[in-house]
Amino acid sequence: MTSIDIALGGRPVVARRSNPGRDVAAIAGRALRRVPRELETVIPPIFIALFFFIVNIGTLQHLTQSHIKGFDIKSFMLPTAILLGVTGISRAGSLVIDIQSGYLDRLLLTPVRRVAILLGHLVADVAIATALMVPIVGLALGLGVRFQAGPLGVLVFLVLGCAWSLAFAAFGYAIALKTGNPAAVNSSFLLFFPFLFMTSSYVPKEQLSGWLAAVATWNPVTYILEGLRSLVSTGWSAAALGEALLAIAGVGVVSFALCFAALRGRLRRG
């Protein structure tokens, strides 16, 4: 027992590296504790998702159901509402605040694994995305939407939504770590528009024409929407789900590569 230990309470403590899971859990817990104090970062996405879900159904229900036999606008719009809600959910803004306040340095001065700082934030994002999706899905069920894939389909639906949220969130962290600039992180919102609106968000893919149809064919979100819709409207479809997973994985590979490169760069710059 050192003199320091005796003077500070008599119990010897030896600093040591935690296991990776504990590191990630500690960082994620801290990120989640901030959420109640930063409700402005989570209320707008859920409001936008619920608002457009309700308004779009109200606007298009009569038109679509009178022109397309058997078309259920509520089932069709649910995946759109989910992606509107979870695309861009990230704690990247908080990470920028940590960079600017010097708190990231305090974390880096501890023996915590560098990757755990990033993964902890991403785990928190998954938890927040899940929490955002539950009321949207709940509203849809309340409005009469039924999942053709059953209860397990609901679970897979939520998992796909989380996976997409995670893949997109990594862009925000890449910008946060690269720039340390809150304005730059906020501008990552611009990526949201081409991803979510140049696709089959509002009409079925086969109804798109011209340049928008071409863009939608290359837009990974088209395949994510199709995968999600398959769970709601048609039941289990290995092809649709496989394409959705591939689309999420493709975006995730790019966004995470950028993210980890930005982390390495920031650590190198000190």
Partner: protein, 340 residues
């Protein structure tokens, strides 16, 4: 009173050792060949103006930056090759209190403990002990954004101590603090060193801070150590006393007439002040006044003991810019105005 361990009192291997440490940013060397040997139990003051390389040196020693070249060992471990081992053994309070304003002090300290691998009972014991040591009181349960500057500094210091570090780095710990908070921080630094034997590496641009706290001082300028020693040793470099003359106009003839006077070790103009270093100021100030009166009108003539600022001036030709110091310099109390 200075409670810090003097080098000869300290024992064991070096707490911090660097050899030819260099850190470049592009073409600019912020740290340019720094050699340090700081023994366990010392308070080492690292003194220099803004941009001299103090904080960069600290960031390298704390593993936040890798050295461009040279070697650095902290608590017996190479900062470049064994950064994890270094991190386990150091505590750091950086220049700006690095805190998460949205957390409570308690949440921040608990998280800090978890990141150092401490168990819940260990963290609880440490927080109990630190609350007494740092005296944060009930505020520890409130959001950090409600804290005063002094409270944030104290919490920052507590966060640096959660894991019982061997070496504590304090990067300008009192910059921006009011005099009361500053005095309190000084007392805590002394206590950590004298009661716990902790090695403390203290960077500061406040001369009196280094003078008050540090057993040894290194002065850094443009990334290089320009002098090192105890404050007393350093001040002896510029003589026992300093005579400061304000003349009606700057006149090089004034230099000529005082330089050759008995007891004068040197004389230099700095701005509108003529600084005369002397072995015995009381005996020399009369002849200096008489000699200056032959070449210029003397507006004021004061006698004081040398400061580290004088040492810095002697070594670099520039004064330290410590005008943000929130309380009068210690040496100012010793001013003796002898002529107006």
């Amino acid at each position: 009173m200075n409670y810090s361990f003097l080098p000869e009192q300290a024992s064991g291997p070096s707490a911090i050792m660097t050899k030819g440490l260099v850190r470049r940013f592009g073409d600019k060397a912020a740290v340019d060949g720094v050699d340090l040997d700081i023994r366990r139990g010392e308070i080492y003051g690292f003194l220099g103006p803004n941009g001299a390389g103090k904080s960069t040196t600290v960031r390298v020693l704390c593993t936040l930056l890798t050295p461009t070249s040279g070697q650095a060992f902290v608590a017996g471990h190479d900062v470049a090759r064994e950064p994890e081992q270094v991190r386990l053994r150091i505590g750091v309070a950086l220049q700006e209190a690095a805190l998460d304003a949205k957390q409570t002090g308690l949440q921040l300290l608990r998280l800090q403990g978890r990141l150092y691998g401490l168990s819940r009972p260990e963290i609880a014991a440490r927080l109990e002990a630190l609350s007494q040591l740092i005296d944060i009181g009930d505020a520890i349960g409130k959001p950090i954004e409600t804290y005063s500057g002094g409270m944030k500094r104290r919490l920052d210091l507590a966060a640096a101590l959660v894991h019982s570090p061997e070496v504590l780095f304090l990067d300008e710990p009192t910059t921006g603090l009011d005099p009361v908070s500053r005095a309190r921080m000084w007392e805590e630094v002394r206590r950590l060193n004298s009661e716990l034997g902790m090695t403390i590496f203290l960077t500061t641009q406040y001369l009196e801070e280094a003078d008050e706290l540090a057993g040894r001082v290194g002065i850094i300028d443009h990334g290089r150590i320009v002098a090192e020693g105890t404050p007393a040793e350093l001040k002896r470099r510029v003589g026992n006393d300093v005579i400061v003359a304000r003349l009606a106009r700057r006149d090089d003839a004034a230099l000529e007439v005082v330089r050759d006077l008995p007891g004068v070790r040197g004389a230099e103009f700095h701005g509108d002040e003529l600084l005369v270093s002397a072995d015995d100021g009381a005996a020399t100030i009369g002849p200096v006044a008489v000699a200056l009166a032959t070449v210029s009108q003397v507006r004021t003539l004061t006698l004081r003991t040398p400061t580290l600022d004088d040492v810095f001036l002697e070594l670099t030709g520039n004064r330290m810019e410590s005008d943000r110091s929130p309380q009068p310099r210690a040496d100012a109390r010793e001013l003796t105005e002898v002529m107006k």
